[in-house]
């Protein structure tokens, strides 16, 4: 059975009196270890689909099955547990907590579990090593470059060793050289078995993915 299964998934919003169909009957199966690039114009429903896969946006129709779990059938608390265990988010604007240091941001997903301080520090150091930020653990976020901030965000997404990495335009705010670095990190992670689903506008990055999915007006076009 596929890792992710959706069948005729839909999401409708109301904008004033107008009904907006953000995701329109999308059916999709994603296997473990795939690297999906999700492309399409602005407003095509890419980010909405991503948040729906991440358990943060309940579909209007149908369900999202991940690892045989109907995630929107879970209670709010169990869904939060699911997100922590299965999903790592990476955002275009990094979305780090500005008043926490680099290592504290990386440890953020561990704040609700019972890991000891020592174990948390070891895990965070090990992940920061992977993204080559081991020397910057005590820095505040605003002391880092954009590329470094995105690497911190990736480290935070990885700290709980999730099966799925959801990246919403992770290189959108970065220069081409830094973007390549970030894409290489994502590729390395994918090669270790993680399923990566990445929203991007940049067709160049299709080359990193194992499958490219195109969306238009909320519909899957290929």
């Amino acid at each position: 059975m596929s890792l992710i299964q959706i069948d005729n998934l839909a999401k409708e919003y109301k904008s004033g009196n107008e009904k907006v169909i953000a995701v329109n009957n999308i059916s999709l199966e994603i296997e473990q270890g795939e690297f999906i690039s999700l492309m399409g114009e602005s407003g095509s429903g890419k980010s909405t689909l991503l948040t729906m896969l991440g358990g943060l946006n309940k579909p209007t129709k149908d369900k999202v099955i991940i690892d045989e779990i109907d995630i929107y059938n879970l209670s709010a608390n169990r869904l939060a547990d699911f997100r922590r265990e299965y999903i790592g988010f990476v955002f275009q604007s990094f979305q780090l907590i500005p008043y926490l240091t680099v290592i504290e941001n990386v440890q953020l997903p561990l704040a609700t579990n019972s890991h000891s301080k020592k174990l948390q520090a070891e895990l965070a150091s090990s992940i920061l090593n992977k993204v080559h930020l081991e020397s910057k653990g005590k820095r505040l976020i605003n002391e880092l470059s954009g590329g470094e901030q995105q690497r911190v965000a990736i480290a935070r997404a990885l700290i709980n060793d999730p099966m799925i990495l959801l990246a919403d335009e992770p290189t959108g705010n970065l220069d081409s050289k830094t973007s390549e670095d970030i894409m290489n990190i994502l590729l390395e992670l994918n090669q270790t078995g993680k399923t990566v689903i990445m929203v991007t506008h940049n067709p160049v990055f299709k080359k990193y993915s194992t499958r490219n999915i195109q969306l238009s007006d909320g519909k899957l076009i290929c």
Partner: protein, 392 residues
């Protein structure tokens, strides 16, 4: 990294917001503490003044007979069967548990005497009151005397009515029980029984009327601010089984009414301050939650549950509130030390460090913080992830 670390770091590194939150509560707590200490001093000062403004307790010998009515209480002993009230009883009264509440103890001996004004007006009947002038003057704050109070044992001060009836004058000599006294002072009209009395030294009166160690009554001004007068009456009655101890309730009630007015005033102001502080914290935390939508979205994305978000926000407010409570206490005490002498209520004010007031201040601030932050915290936790995520 634990949830409390997030709250602590938020407080530590978001200095402007923390300062605003702490300052709002700190001012409220400091105002409360200042007002509490100042009003406590006002109350004590007023209570003390009122307590000394006339007696609120009367001790008379037990008797079945009806005799002199003194301040609304009948007094035995004018027939001089007053053997049951002794000079030594004063010492006994001072041994009661609430002796510290006894402010003024004014013993008296009444004696009927013939007066022979040296002017030759002829002998008249008069009541002589032997008093301890030091205590009596403290007790009778409304007394105004023309001349001066007696300093020697053969000096006397007379009531206005006595003066009118007998046509006496200052420095005039009068004979009481064949002994000569000089009038050193004449009391202005008081409207009380004092207008018809002649006052001489208590010890002299006891010797003059051969009533050594005897008393007709004892007037007491007790501080009732922190002790019910009924309790002092009960304790005194136990010590003096042969005496009748009476509380002058009208006097007590009027005093307590005055004191309670101050207490109600303080309570009213404190309540207003508390409400204002609640609004300050509520507005502040609510604004903070609105600003932190993005942050709440991040918390949701990394798997925080609703109560985790509530815990972070409330903990943050509680830590800031606790600090505000402690700081507010010390600032409030300092302000009270400055304000109280300016208001001239008690220049010799000594404000003792009160752990209870410190804990109350901290507790009040924490409670205010908790009350004001619950709704915004719930609002944050109930934030629709879609809305929170739209800002990411």
């Amino acid at each position: 990294m634990k949830l409390y670390n997030i709250s602590l770091q938020s407080i530590r590194r978001r200095k402007a917001r923390t300062a605003f939150l702490v300052t709002g509560l700190l001012l409220a707590v400091a105002s409360f503490v200042t007002l509490f200490i100042v009003s406590e001093n006002v109350n004590q000062s007023v209570a003390s003044d009122l307590d000394e403004f006339g007696a609120n307790m009367l001790i008379t010998p037990k008797s079945d007979g009806l005799n002199l009515n003194y301040g609304g209480v009948s007094v035995t002993g004018l027939t001089f069967e007053s053997g049951s009230l002794k000079q030594d009883d004063i010492a006994l009264i001072k041994t009661i548990k609430n002796r510290d509440n006894l402010s003024i103890i004014a013993p008296k001996l009444f004696a009927a005497s013939k007066i022979d004004p040296a002017g030759g007006a002829g002998e008249k009947n008069i009541i002589v009151s032997g008093v301890d002038f030091k205590e009596e003057i403290r007790l009778k704050k409304l007394w105004q005397v023309n001349g001066k109070y007696p300093a020697k044992e053969n000096e006397t001060v007379i009531g206005s009515e006595v003066n009118k009836v007998l046509g006496l004058g200052l420095n005039q000599k009068i004979n009481l029980n064949n002994e000569e006294f000089i009038i050193t002072g004449i009391l202005n009209e008081t409207g009380s029984q004092d207008d018809g009395l002649i006052f001489i030294d208590l010890t002299k009166a006891q010797i003059l009327f051969n009533k050594q160690n005897q008393l007709s009554l004892i007037e007491i001004a007790a501080r009732c601010y922190d002790c019910p007068i009924e309790e002092i009456v009960r304790q005194s009655s136990e010590k003096l089984p042969g005496a009748k101890v009476t509380a002058i309730k009208q006097s007590i009630e009027s005093k307590m009414t005055a004191i309670h007015r101050f207490e109600h005033f303080s309570l009213g102001i404190s309540s207003v301050i508390l409400i204002i502080s609640l609004l300050i914290v509520f507005t502040n935390v609510n604004a903070s939650v609105n600003e932190r939508t993005r942050e709440i979205g991040i918390f949701m994305a990394v798997g925080f549950k609703r109560w985790h978000i509530i815990k972070i926000i409330i903990l943050e407010v509680l830590i800031a509130s606790f600090a505000a409570g402690i700081l507010g206490f010390f600032i409030g005490v300092a302000a009270a030390k400055i304000i109280t002498p300016i208001l001239s209520m008690n220049e010799s004010l000594e404000i003792n460090f009160s752990y209870i007031l410190l804990l109350t201040s901290a507790g009040m601030a924490v409670l205010a913080g908790l009350l004001a932050s619950v709704l915004p915290a719930l609002k944050a936790a109930r934030l629709d992830p879609t809305v929170a995520f739209r800002s990411l």
